[in-house]
């Protein structure tokens, strides 16, 4: 159905009425254009090549859950797509308004609701930039310990929507471990709450249905997180391993015995490129840096145990300086001039697997990409999030500018071919499609390959909750 004459204007007025007036809506071209590029390489390339970005038709900035509810009711009546935008810093194109319609910018919903110092929890509206939440926690002597690279740019809702992770995850967990409860506006406009705590025996955990749903099943409007006491000490140590296997195995042993907050293990290629550039580390091998933190007496013992684990696998002790330097620079890596950028083509194919499979995946992805694309695609990897049973590979491909087609169509094809090749190699070797960046538009087409017949569970949820299919179309394979 096409909207004719003054019908778009009628909807504009209705949306303005829903969100407190015309200050909170926009149809300005320059305003809409800023929502057409997030951190996804394809969107960036499209802009760089002077192409028209995907733009929403209406921008709305709700100030409350009730206003969010009104907007989705309007969208459902007119069967208009709804895209939810937090910080816009997602790398998977998850927030891009690929089908136009309404774009809901959540950043007006940024109020702190409560810090419960007895229970050690913090609750805020989902449009708050996560750094501001962390500062609120710090002010009371606590930390959320969700410290991702996008800490200063992503919102609470954004972190939840794509199942994000922070650099301290090996001790404090992923966002899906840290969130206790949420308020969600369903596509029909109903405002629901998950149970007050996640550890119950009252059926499946509703939190885990909406965390990672990327705006396809509802809109997260509030969330409560665990708080942690600030550590008494944080100790760093760096090591060098001769190969990938010894590093993976040392990491496994460490995770079985103690819980480092940071554990990062770099392959030879990344050790020789990024670690060399930022930390000035020159030796050949696979670099590892880690941190243990908490009460000093415990940390001292944990560090002794770590040194024993490393020794078993032949790791060279590099002392504490590199780890401290890495920590100081942990955000510096991501500023323009340091991070990969156009005119390079690049992507992060983060996957995770058990310890039995993780090294196999590392080599399989590397081989698959090399076999298909030869030397024109570089491959670097590190493992930055660890569990008792396995870890993830933060695998990045880089195509240097000379090998990146200028034609946006050709560039898009090459980009998607590299992604298909790398991700399929991970899935075929018992890895997963993604560890912590989400699916978005980038990997949507591969979701059915990952889930097989299990995908029908998510499709059924989608059909029931969003029968008109208005919520973030083309994302998450739904």
């Amino acid at each position: 159905m096409e909207l004719k004459a003054f019908m778009p204007g009628m909807i504009f007025d209705e949306l303005a009425d829903a969100v407190g007036g015309y200050d909170n809506v926009s149809v300005e071209t320059s305003d809409r254009a800023t929502y057409g590029v997030d951190y996804f390489w394809l969107g960036r390339m499209w802009q760089d090549r002077g192409q028209v970005p995907p733009m929403p038709d209406w921008i709305v900035r709700p100030g409350s859950s009730q206003e969010v509810s009104k907007v989705v009711k309007i969208a459902n009546y007119y069967k208009i797509p709804v895209h939810v935008w937090g910080g816009g810093s997602g790398s998977q194109g998850g927030a891009l308004p690929m089908s136009g319609g309404i774009l809901m910018d959540m950043k007006r919903m940024c109020k702190l609701i409560e810090i419960d110092t007895i229970s050690r929890t913090i609750t805020a509206e989902a449009g708050m930039i996560f750094q501001l939440l962390e500062w609120h926690a710090n002010e009371k002597g606590f930390s959320c310990q969700h410290i991702p690279s996008c800490l200063t740019c992503g919102t609470i809702g954004g972190a939840l929507a794509h199942r994000g992770i922070g650099i301290m995850s090996s001790k404090y967990g992923k966002i899906d471990d840290q969130c206790l409860s949420m308020e969600v506006v369903l596509p029909n406009g109903d405002i629901i709450n998950t149970l007050p705590i996640p550890k119950h025996a009252a059926g499946p955990d509703l939190n885990q249905i909406f965390i990672g749903s990327e705006g396809t099943l509802g809109i997260i409007t509030k969330a409560t997180f665990r708080l942690f006491e600030q550590p008494e000490v944080r100790r760093f140590r760096a090591f060098l391993f001769r190969d990938m296997n010894s590093g993976y195995m040392a990491g496994r042993d460490i995770m079985q015995k103690v819980k480092p907050s940071i554990l990062r293990f770099y392959d030879e290629a990344e050790t020789a490129s990024i670690i060399k550039k930022i930390l000035g580390f020159e030796k050949k091998g696979c670099f590892m840096n880690l941190a243990v933190e908490g009460i000093k007496r415990i940390v001292d013992i944990e560090m002794d145990i770590i040194l024993e684990c490393v020794k078993v696998w032949g790791g060279e002790d590099l002392g504490s300086d590199y780890g401290e330097k890495w920590f100081e620079n942990r955000i510096t890596f991501f500023y323009p001039g340091n991070i990969m950028d156009i005119p390079q083509m690049f992507g992060t194919m983060d996957t995770a697997a058990t310890y039995a499979n993780i090294e196999k995946i590392y080599w399989a992805m590397k081989k698959a990409i090399h076999d298909k694309f030869g030397d024109k695609v570089r491959y670097i990897s590190h493992s930055s999030h660890w569990y008792e049973w396995g870890c993830m590979n933060y695998t990045r491909f880089i195509v240097d500018p000379a090998n990146v087609p200028q034609d946006p169509e050709k560039a898009r094809r090459l980009h998607n071919e590299i992604w298909n090749t790398g991700v399929r190699a991970a899935i075929e070797n018992s890895g997963i499609i993604n560890n912590h960046h989400g699916i978005g538009l980038k990997l949507s087409r591969l979701m059915k390959e990952q889930y097989g017949p299990a995908m029908q569970v998510m499709e059924a949820l989608k059909k029931q909750l969003d029968p008109n299919g208005i919520m973030n179309p083309y994302k998450l394979g739904l």
Binding site: A33, T34, M106, I129
Partner: protein, 374 residues
């Protein structure tokens, strides 16, 4: 149309989101296009063929030029470069929004953002020539004249012989903020320098930190000769240190707001704080002020001086609605601590922070406070 320098900075910022949590405008509006990266993206799109429109220009004027983004960028990119140029381009294309154009018109007609013909400051007994000149700036001359008069009182009590210009011309700073540092602005700065030279001054005590930064940076870049420039806070603090002023002390708990240009552009953090302490107050730093060393997050990443800007005279005249929100947001920061008295040492900050004072809070201009303690 944009300079290569502006394009380079815009292209660096267009995909970077790292400083959005610090932009005082974005924090109160929640609008994506109020973030530095959105402004960079729009400039980048315009450089690649997108038509500039009114919305583009509005976006570029919804900025305090406070430099929070610039100060935080660890790789040295500066959104203010392309935002100023975008304002120039908007003017050339006839796209300047009405709310900004009416301020530009006032600046061109009267030299001040208020369109005022007469200063409110009482210059009785103050000579127009002398070796030490007090430069007030337009906020103190037309909006918060009590601040100017307080500075006069302080200097008189210290026995400082000084001059001031009843017909002080515009420095060019505000016009530069509105249309970029173009030739017209340089000429105004040149005229201001000529007016200063005519007084025979060897030293200029500058009350408004916007003007002080403009004299010390832009005028220097243009090769415009000026006598020694010192901020009023620094000068007055030295009078106290030299024992020429002995303020009465009163025990009370206060917080200090760092005006952006004083703190970031001039790196002046201590003078005002020392004056406050000299008055016997216990200073409690507002959360995330650079001087708040109690918070480890301050040193976590990026650069320092994170204090949020509270507004400016220009914003007050362009977008009074936004100026009130910015003011209210700064008092939210005050209320996060246990002080209920906010002090600032810049006339534009005083103008901005008087717009909406919450119940139970008090605002004091540093110079007005000190004048009352002598």
């Amino acid at each position: 149309m944009f300079s290569e320098k502006a394009k380079k900075h815009a292209d660096a910022c267009r995909f970077c989101f790292m400083c959005r949590h610090l932009c005082p405008i974005q924090l109160v509006t929640g609008k994506e296009n109020n973030t530095p990266r959105a402004k960079g993206l729009l400039v980048s799109m315009t450089s690649r063929g997108m038509q500039m429109d009114k919305g583009f220009a509005v976006t570029m004027y919804e900025c305090l030029l406070c430099g929070a983004c610039t100060a935080d960028c660890v790789t040295g990119f500066d959104p203010l470069i392309f935002i100023r140029e975008a304002r120039t381009q908007a003017a050339l294309e006839g796209l300047t929004p009405a709310f900004a154009q009416q301020v530009i018109d006032k600046l061109e007609e009267t030299g001040n953002v208020y369109g005022a013909k007469e200063t409110r400051v009482d210059f009785t007994g103050i000579p127009a020539e002398g070796q030490t000149l007090v430069w007030l700036g337009s906020a103190a001359r037309y909006a918060v004249s009590d601040v100017a008069e307080a500075l006069f009182t302080i200097l008189k009590k210290a026995g400082v012989s000084f001059a001031a210009l009843k017909d002080e011309p515009a420095s060019g700073c505000e016009l530069g903020d509105m249309i970029g540092h173009v030739e017209d602005v340089r000429q105004r700065a040149q005229a201001a320098a000529a007016a200063i030279a005519k007084t025979g001054a060897k030293k200029v005590i500058v009350l408004d930190s916007h003007d002080a930064a403009f004299f010390l940076h832009e005028c220097k870049d243009w090769g415009i000769e000026l006598p020694e420039i010192e901020t009023a806070t620094s000068f007055v603090n030295n009078l106290i240190k030299d024992g020429r002023l002995v303020p009465q002390k009163k025990t009370e708990t206060v917080s200090y707001h760092d005006a952006a240009r004083l703190a970031r552009d001039l790196s002046e953090l201590d003078a005002a704080r020392e004056i406050i302490v000299a008055m016997g107050a216990e200073l409690r730093e507002m959360y995330l002020n650079e001087k708040d060393n109690t918070n480890p997050a301050n040193k976590a990443c990026g650069s320092s001086v994170r204090a949020t800007e509270c507004g400016s005279s220009l914003m007050g005249q362009m977008r009074p609605d936004l100026a009130v929100k910015l003011c209210e947001n700064r008092y939210v920061d005050l209320l996060r601590g246990d002080a209920r008295i906010m002090i600032a040492a810049d006339p534009q900050a005083t103008e901005a922070l008087r717009l909406s004072i919450p119940e139970g809070c008090e605002y004091r201009d540093l110079f007005v406070m000190l004048a009352g303690r002598l």
